[in-house]
Structures are given as structure tokens and as C-alpha cells.
């Protein structure tokens, strides 16, 4: 318990963590200001235009959906995303509609929280390993597994608390903004809040997954930069480069299996919470992310336990 309290104190006192929190707050304020500046309450004329546009769009979507269902080369499940979904609030231009836009904002927040968690968790161990200050700690608490476990636990706990608080503040603030300068939308619809809570929970879990990955890579590489470098390298070399090559050369005709090679597909599938948004299934995505986190964390602990601390 002492170790965990000391680690919490250490993490909260770190300038990098404070700076990252500040960055989150600044991003949040900017998003609020943008919404405030661009949104206004809908007038009756705006509703008439929106209803007409939505009806027209719904007809086109129905045609596309029917064409998909009638196409023998496409599996029925893949047509799920083409189901007609057009609703009038989508066509209320210049109006912030909470029910319609909050999910996209949560995705945006998730991306930030994931990056925040990745960097803060990586830095919490990477900077100490690189600077040698972990030596001091090990002279006090020579149990390496306990020390690394405490650091990982505190980093994940910190990211979880920040994520939950920011998510609640985010939702509360944008609900208030919608009521004030926009339109709240059909939040009374059955399942809206449950769906939103599930999206938030998946977002927070993703931030924790990325935090654990950042922590593990920084531990194995003994430096925060190892985690950041790995992330940038992975995105450039694999997600962009390899995906381009695979698609250009058409290495595999089965889109489903090809998609599974890329982590971004799994992240999209995970965040969607259901099959159909990505060619990877939700179950595959869950399993892949869990295996990656477990493998990297295990490697980090083995490496930290066995290596010479110099």
C-alpha cells in the first residue's frame, strides 16, 4: 500500500503528467468553443428543410441497401451498414444535436485519452528506467515484480480516473451546450443512454489498453521514446505502408483476413461494439487486443525481473 501511495504521489507530481492533463483540458475547451461558435437553436424553417433532405436521403439509402441485398457476391451481413438511417437532425446544418453528435465526440475523446494514456504510462516507467532513478526505488523495495506492478497499476488507475472524469464532464458539458445553443435530440429513445454508456466504456477500455501497451514497450525498451517510436513506426510502416502494399498487390482476395492483420481494423471493430463497421468482427478485435496486451505485459515483467539494472 505504501508503494502504491508513493507511486501515486510520484505520478501526480510529475510535470509531464500535469502537462498532459493541461493539454486535455485545452483540447476540451477548444472543442466547447468551436461548438459554441458554430451552433444555434433550430428554427421552424430549418426543420422543414432538414425533414425534406432526410426523406430524400432515406430513399437513396433504401435503394443502395436493396441493391446490396440483391447482389449475390456480397454477404447479407455486409449490407448492415447500408441500412437507411437518415434522420432530420442530420440535416440541421449549424445546429449542434447532442443525440446525433455525442458519439462522434466520444470517439474523438477516446483518441485523445488513448494517446494521453499511452504517453503518460510509457513515461511513468520509461523516464525512470532511462534516468536510473528506478535504481533508487529498487534499493528501497527490491521486489521488482511488486515495483513494476505498482507502477503499472498506478498508471492504469490514473488513466482510468482521468478518462472517467473527462468522459462525464464531456457528456455533461455537451448536453448542456445542446440544451442552450443547439438541440438535445431524441435522448429519450430506448437504449440511447445504454448505447452511449457502452461506447464510453469501450473508449475508456481502449485508453487503458493503449496505456498498458505503452507501459510495456517503454519497460522493454527502457525509454519513453521506445514506446513513442514504436507507435509512430508501427503506424507509418505497417498501418500505412504495408496496408498500401497489400492492397496494391492484392495479396489476399479475402478482405476479412487481410483486415485482421492491421490493429486499426481491430480498434474500429472494438469501438463499434458490433460486427459490420469493420471487416474484423467484434469478438476477433476483443481477442486480439487482449492477447497483445497480455503478451506485451508479460514480456515487460519478465524483462524487468531478469535484466541487469544499470
Amino acid at each position: 500500500m505504501n508503494l502504491i501511495l508513493a507511486e501515486m504521489s510520484r505520478l501526480l507530481s510529475r510535470r509531464f503528467a500535469q502537462l498532459m492533463i493541461l493539454l486535455l483540458i485545452v483540447t476540451f475547451i477548444l472543442t466547447v468553443l468551436v461548438v459554441l461558435g458554430k451552433s444555434k437553436q433550430p428554427t421552424e424553417d430549418m426543420w422543414i428543410v432538414a425533414r425534406s433532405a432526410a426523406a430524400s436521403a432515406a430513399r437513396e439509402q433504401q435503394q443502395d441497401y436493396n441493391a446490396c441485398l440483391n447482389n449475390p457476391t456480397r454477404p447479407t451481413a455486409s449490407c448492415e451498414s447500408l441500412k437507411p438511417r437518415a434522420v432530420p437532425e442530420e440535416y440541421l446544418y449549424g445546429v449542434f444535436t447532442f443525440a446525433h453528435e455525442i458519439k462522434n465526440l466520444i470517439y474523438f475523446l477516446t483518441a485523445f485519452l488513448a494517446l494521453f494514456g499511452f504517453l503518460v504510462a510509457a513515461s511513468s516507467i520509461g523516464s525512470e528506467l532511462h534516468s536510473g532513478s528506478v535504481v533508487n526505488l529498487l534499493l528501497w523495495r527490491p521486489n521488482r515484480t511488486a515495483v513494476l506492478g505498482a507502477k503499472l497499476g498506478v498508471a492504469l488507475g490514473f488513466v482510468a480516473v482521468v478518462s472517467v472524469v473527462f468522459t462525464l464532464v464531456y457528456i455533461g458539458t455537451f448536453y448542456g451546450l445542446a440544451a442552450w445553443v443547439g438541440w438535445v435530440g431524441h435522448t429519450e429513445d430506448r437504449g440511447f443512454w445504454i448505447d452511449l454508456i457502452l461506447v464510453c466504456m469501450r473508449g475508456i477500455t481502449l485508453a487503458l489498453v493503449l496505456s498498458a501497451i505503452g507501459f510495456a514497450i517503454a519497460t522493454i525498451g527502457r525509454h519513453t521514446a521506445a514506446a513513442l517510436g514504436s507507435l509512430i513506426g508501427y503506424i507509418i510502416v505497417w498501418e500505412l505502408g504495408a496496408r498500401l502494399i497489400v492492397e496494391t498487390l492484392n495479396v489476399d482476395n479475402s478482405n476479412t483476413s487481410r483486415d485482421q492483420w492491421f490493429l486499426a481494423s481491430h480498434v474500429i471493430a472494438w469501438m463499434s461494439g458490433r460486427d459490420g463497421y469493420s471487416l474484423t468482427t467484434f469478438a476477433d478485435a476483443t481477442m486480439t487486443l487482449a492477447v497483445i496486451v497480455a503478451a506485451l505485459t508479460a514480456l515487460a515483467f519478465i524483462s524487468f525481473r531478469r535484466r541487469d539494472i544499470t
Binding site: 505504501n2 508503494l3 501511495l5 508513493a6 507511486e7 504521489s9 510520484r10 507530481s13 510529475r14 510535470r15 534516468s131 536510473g132 532513478s133 535504481v135 533508487n136 526505488l137 529498487l138 534499493l139 528501497w140 523495495r141 527490491p142 521486489n143 531478469r306 541487469d308 539494472i309 544499470t310
Partner: protein, 330 residues
């Protein structure tokens, strides 16, 4: 006398993908007895810090045995609360204050927070305790490091280069501090390059070179083992004096302002020889070896005219004496 640290046949080889194998310790032995202030000397890269790291469980040894406070060092966790240590210059977060840094360590180690103020007072950092560590001088950081080692009120204090960056007043304070903790019954193992400091404060010493022990024992006995029986002679008629002394079998060489005779077992013989020739002595001074001389000889690191020495390299052409085995008095 109880051995607090016992190291026997310690071996460690570092293996790197790019820089190959490097033998850091090659069968190293060391014994530190309770209540001693023990000096641990050796050139850069000789294996001092690796030894301390292995002892403290930071580095995995390839062979040999180590006990610390009677416990095998692989179970260092069992005795960690009784050992205060700093290895090399510890790194602290720059934006944390000295007091906050020590409080974090105290909390992590389950040590009462009152110890923080006591440790700060012992190293003379009370008035700067709230300043960020980033603003500390090297000497102040070193004091903070020593304070962190003292926090536990340890039975055994292991300090790797504690005098780094200290000014003369700081050195004096450090010497006083180490003596004070030793008087309280704390065993101190101190690794240092400041040989005069070690000579002044240490009861016993171990000298390491190329990963092996080349000398150990009480400081006075290590020095005595290297006493060449040299005397400085100042007198009139130096040429005649030299001739007479050489005729008596002394090994004599001229130096600025006098002569140095070596291999002297009885200085009265010099006085008698010169007196017989009517040459009156103005000065006859024994030139006992100091620790620096002994160290340079034993580690083969004595600078040679016209050659620049390299870190981590000993003089391959220098003759390295056989290890001196002087056991501490029981």
C-alpha cells in the same frame, strides 16, 4: 569480528549485441567487518560499481557467493530495510523538492516521515529542502543522495562515490558525517577516488583492479606492506654522502635538495655512517607510502611521462604486484 559483507569469487560478464563480451568481475573477493569504515578503491571500469550493484541485487552475478548482513544477497529484500545505499550518482526528478523526494522514498519504504527531517539535517540541506532538485549543485545532489541512504537509519551504509562534486567544506562535512555514523555503530562501505579522504576516514580497504582484488586489509597494514624503507636525507657534501652511503650498501638516488635512500631498515645506520665522515645531517625524514602511491602501483594506473592514460585501460607494460593478503585483525 562479524562480517557484514562477504563476497567470494564474484564473476560477472556483460554481453552486448554490438560491443561483445566485457569481463567486469573475475573472481572478486571482499570482506567488510561490522563497525568498520571500509574503503573500496579501483580505477574507472575496474568493477567497483558492478560489485555494489550485484551486492544490492541490481545486477545478476554469473558466479561466486555474496552475503550481506548474514543473508545471501539473492535475498537482499529480507535485509533491504537495514541497508542504506547509493549507487553512482542517483538521479532525482528535477521539479521535485529535496524534501518531497525523500518523503516519496520514505513512503515507498514504509519509513516514518520524521526520518526525512533528521536525514536533511544530517547532510545540511534543511534550508534548501523546499527548492527544486533541478536547482541543486552537484554537491547538493550528492548530499541529498546520502540523505536518502540515511533515511532508513541503516546498520550498513553503502556509498558509491559520495564525495563527488563536494567542495572542501563539503568533504570535511562528509568525513565528519561518516565518522559520526560509524561511531553510532553503522558499518560503512565507501567507494571513492579520493584516496586522501579514504586514507583519513577508513579503517580498512579493498583495492580492485581488472575485476580482481589486488589488496585488502587495515589501511595501516596495506600501507606498511608497501613500505620500501625510504628516507629523505638533507646534509652538506651530498656527493660525498651519497658515495659513503652506497659503499655501506644503501640504494641512494639524488633528488632536488637532497638524497633518497631506500631499503633502510634502521635509520640510525645512516646517521652513524655520515657522522663517521664528519657529514652532519640537517634532515632525515621517513618517506612512508601513502594510499595514492600504493593504489597507483597496485592498479598499474600510474601516469607515465609522455603518455596519456585511457579510461578503463591499465598500463599493460607495468608490472602488477601480486595481491597482498592482509587479514583484518580479529
Amino acid at each position: 569480528m562479524t562480517a557484514v559483507i562477504e563476497i567470494a569469487g564474484l564473476r560477472k560478464t556483460f554481453r552486448g549485441l554490438l560491443d561483445g563480451r566485457k569481463i567486469a568481475l573475475d573472481g572478486f573477493d571482499m570482506v567488510v567487518h561490522a563497525g568498520q569504515v571500509h574503503g573500496f578503491l579501483g580505477p574507472n571500469g575496474s568493477g567497483k560499481t558492478t560489485t555494489l550493484r550485484a551486492l544490492l541485487g541490481l545486477v545478476r552475478a554469473d558466479g561466486g557467493s555474496m552475503t550481506i548482513l548474514g543473508t545471501p544477497s539473492r535475498r537482499f529484500a529480507d535485509v533491504a530495510h537495514r541497508v542504506g545505499a547509493i549507487v553512482e550518482s542517483p538521479t532525482f526528478f528535477k521539479n521535485f523538492s529535496g524534501r518531497h523526494t525523500l518523503r516519496l522514498l520514505a513512503r515507498a519504504g514504509g519509513v516514518p516521515l520524521e526520518n526525512v527531517e533528521e536525514a536533511l539535517a544530517m547532510v545540511g540541506l534543511v534550508h534548501r529542502a523546499e527548492d527544486p532538485v533541478g536547482g541543486y549543485s552537484l554537491g547538493m545532489k550528492q548530499r541529498l543522495a546520502v540523505a536518502s541512504a540515511l533515511l532508513k537509519r541503516p546498520e550498513l551504509l553503502i556509498l558509491d562515490e559520495p564525495a563527488n562534486g563536494l567542495d572542501p567544506a563539503g568533504l570535511h562535512e562528509m568525513r565528519r558525517l561518516l565518522r559520526a555514523v560509524a561511531t553510532d555503530g553503522v558499518t560503512v562501505l565507501i567507494s571513492s577516488h579520493l584516496l586522501s579522504e579514504v586514507e583519513q576516514i577508513c579503517d580498512s580497504v579493498t583495492i580492485i583492479s581488472r575485476g580482481r582484488r589486488v589488496a585488502h586489509g587495515p589501511v595501516t597494514e596495506v600501507l606498511a606492506g608497501h613500505d620500501r624503507g625510504e628516507y629523505f636525507i638533507r646534509a652538506g657534501a651530498l656527493d660525498l654522502a651519497r658515495t659513503r652511503l652506497e659503499a655501506e650498501g644503501f640504494n641512494v638516488r639524488p633528488v632536488d635538495g637532497g638524497l633518497i635512500a631506500s631499503g633502510v631498515t634502521d635509520p640510525a645506520h645512516i646517521s652513524e655512517t655520515l657522522g663517521r665522515e664528519g657529514i652532519w645531517l640537517a634532515e632525515l625524514t621517513p618517506l612512508g607510502p601513502d594510499l595514492e602511491t600504493v593504489y597507483l602501483d597496485l592498479t598499474a594506473t600510474r601516469p607515465r611521462p609522455g603518455r596519456l592514460s585511457e579510461v578503463d585501460r591499465v598500463d599493460e607494460h607495468a608490472s602488477v604486484p601480486e595481491p597482498i593478503e592482509i587479514e583484518a585483525a580479529p
